[in-house]
């Protein structure tokens, strides 16, 4: 979002400069400049050689086959026995318990990630700490690992046989720790590039205007990285909602205690309750959708000044 702003700023000065001799007279030229840049940014490119039709068709077909039709089928199944059937499926004690746990844990995981991920990104970008490149590589490990390996790793260290004599196995803490493990990279990797691109002269300008380091952070840096923090948090949240592999081993999947929604869905399928599984899945889908739409709205709001 903030990338290449430095260049585009300088570029704008060279190409789109409005004559500034009199502020009033520049109004219309600046208006045109602002409009022009908005239109360009919305990707209003001239159509390619084949026109927009073919490309759009291919993309729509692909999205339908891979994403939309399967998701639609799930929602369809959820209402196999009508609205009341759907409602019954998601309000059984087990289903409502697992949904509360999953959504609650995911919110908590999202918030912890927002703080810790930003802190890690800050260390990676701003501090000259030794072994920074090692840490930088390490961050991606949870992305690359099969999640079951993450589960196994946690089980080995924090399981019943913990060599540290510190076991969190079969507790809700284990759910949160497993989710934290697999969602670690999201906030780091969204905030890091924005911090890298952040104009250091903005901070120097604020300092020379009398701002303390604390004021510089809260009034200059934080507002600049907040959209990226929100994006990373939303992604981490959505990922946590859907997590399966990493939680399976260490949580014991105890109904009413540590069973997460995806395991619940799996169990419903196993016991031939497709409608029940689809209903819980629909709730997950709905929550993820709400979060992503809210994020998009936030990005647009923040992007209005770019």
């Amino acid at each position: 979002m903030t990338s290449s702003k430095q260049q585009s700023g300088a570029g704008a000065g060279l190409v789109d400069e409005a004559p500034p001799a009199s502020g009033v007279a520049t109004g219309s030229a600046a208006d045109r400049f602002a409009e022009g840049s908005t239109i360009r940014r919305r990707g209003d490119r001239p159509p390619g050689r084949h026109g927009p039709g073919l490309g759009l068709g291919v993309v729509l077909l692909y999205l339908s086959v891979i994403v939309l039709i399967p998701l639609g089928a799930v929602v369809w199944h959820a209402f196999d026995s009508g609205l009341s059937g759907f409602w019954q499926s998601v309000t059984t004690p087990e289903a409502s318990s697992t949904l509360k746990l999953t959504i609650g844990a995911s919110v908590l995981v999202g918030l912890i990630n927002m703080l810790m991920g930003t802190l890690i990104a800050w260390l990676l970008v701003r501090d000259r700490l030794p072994g920074r490149s090692v840490l930088d590589t390490l961050i991606d490990l949870p992305f690359a690992l099969p999640t079951i390996v993450a589960g196994l790793a946690l089980l080995t260290v924090y399981g019943p046989e913990s060599p540290l004599h510190f076991s969190i196995a079969y507790t809700r803490t284990a759910v949160v720790v497993a989710l934290l493990f697999v969602t670690l990279p999201f906030v780091v990797r969204t905030v890091q590039p924005v911090l890298l691109e952040l104009d250091r002269e903005m901070e120097e300008a604020a300092t020379s205007l009398g701002a303390s380091p604390r004021t510089v952070f809260f009034r200059i840096i934080l507002p600049s990285i907040a959209p990226a923090m929100a994006a990373g948090t939303a992604l981490a949240f959505a990922r946590a909602m859907s997590e399966f592999g990493s939680t399976v081993l260490i949580t014991g999947n105890l109904p009413f205690k540590t069973q997460v929604a995806s395991v619940h869905i799996f169990n419903q399928i196993e016991s031939d309750n497709v409608t029940g599984a689809a209903a819980v899945a629909t709730i997950l889908l709905l929550v993820s959708l709400v979060v992503l739409v809210a994020l998009d709205a936030l990005q647009r709001w923040a992007g209005r000044r770019d």
């Binding site: 903030t2 300088a10 502020g23 600046a30 602002a34």
Partner: protein
């Protein structure tokens, strides 16, 4: 003296950015730090602002010892080449920033910001975001933002460097007028000698981390301390092994007192001026004459003429050594 820099040294690794720099800048003046890039002028400006710590030496601002003072307590307004606009704030809030963090009353902030936006002709842009402004407008906003806190000195680091030639020319004139209006001690960095000569009433020429000469534009042009300053401040050529300004060469059709014969190798018209390239006994030189003179002499390549340094031309001699002028 509004700013006094004494014996300042600054190294970046092995690179010597400032070497024993001593400069005094009188209150209310408009001073240019002029020199080639990498000459240390921006570093000097940043040392004065407190954005860079000198390895040794002292900085005083308004008679107050400032060497150990953090940037935020120096009362210095700083304007950056790339504007350093607060992108997430409107123009109004950008300008208000310094006042807001000083917790001034709301109505005072509103009055002062409105005043400043009028001063920089941006009153109708208060609710815009920086990205909706042109480069010149952003720089004027940055200037208003720096002036809002009533700084003791205003420092501008290549303020017009990112703007195109036309806008740059207009902003120069405008800065000059603004300075007359606001009358705050102002120092700006530039590598453009024309900009320095046109805007500043005093110029500090810097190269390779050292001060080469300090003086008014006229003094520097007419009495450069050394070849570097002479070269940097305007066009030069040489005649008989001595440097001379091309407009100080006199041309004759017949030999005269102290003239040397020369062959015209090329005549180039640049509007009113004509550049005449000469071959003086195998040495290259060039003279700058008016179009009238060129036509009167019927100058064309191959013509043989006689040339001498104009007797009224100011001699180029080494004056006081660098740093103490």
């Amino acid at each position: 003296m509004s700013i006094r820099v004494e014996g300042v040294n600054k190294k970046f690794g092995e690179f010597v950015a400032l070497e024993d720099v001593t400069v005094e800048i009188p209150s209310g003046s408009l001073t240019a730090l002029l020199g080639p890039s990498g000459g240390g002028k921006s570093t000097l400006l940043r040392v004065i602002a407190g954005l860079e710590q000198p390895d040794s030496g002292r900085v005083q601002i308004e008679g107050r010892e400032a060497t150990e003072l953090p940037a935020r307590k120096r009362g210095v307004g700083f304007v950056f080449q790339h504007y350093a606009a607060f992108k997430h704030m409107s123009v109004f809030r950008n300008v208000a920033f310094g006042l807001e963090i000083r917790k001034r009353p709301k109505d005072e902030i509103k009055r002062r910001v409105t005043e400043l936006l009028e001063l920089v002709h941006l009153e109708s842009f208060a609710d815009r975001y920086p990205s909706q402004l042109s480069g010149g407008q952003r720089q004027r906003m940055a200037l208003a933002r720096a002036l809002a806190v009533e700084p003791a000195v205003l420092l501008l680091d290549e303020p017009f460097g990112a703007l195109d030639a036309q806008v740059r020319k207009e902003l120069r004139v405008w800065l000059r007028r603004l300075h007359e209006e606001v009358n705050v001690t102002t120092v700006f960095v530039t590598h453009d000698q024309e900009e320095a000569m046109e805007v500043a009433d005093s110029i500090v020429v810097m190269a390779k981390g050292r001060v080469e000469q300090i003086g008014s534009p006229d003094e520097l042009y007419d009495q450069p301390a050394n070849d570097f300053v002479m070269n940097f401040l305007g066009p030069v050529t040489s005649l008989g092994g001595r440097m001379v300004r091309p407009h100080d060469l006199e041309l004759f059709t017949v030999p005269g007192d102290g003239t040397t014969p020369a062959t015209v190798t090329r005549v180039t018209r640049l509007g009113f001026e004509v550049r005449v390239d000469l071959d003086v006994k195998g040495e290259e030189a060039w003279a700058q004459v008016t179009r009238g003179t060129a036509e009167q002499f019927g100058l064309e390549s191959g013509a043989v003429i006689h040339v001498r340094r104009a007797p009224e031309a100011r001699p180029v001699r080494a004056v006081a050594p660098a740093g103490t002028a």
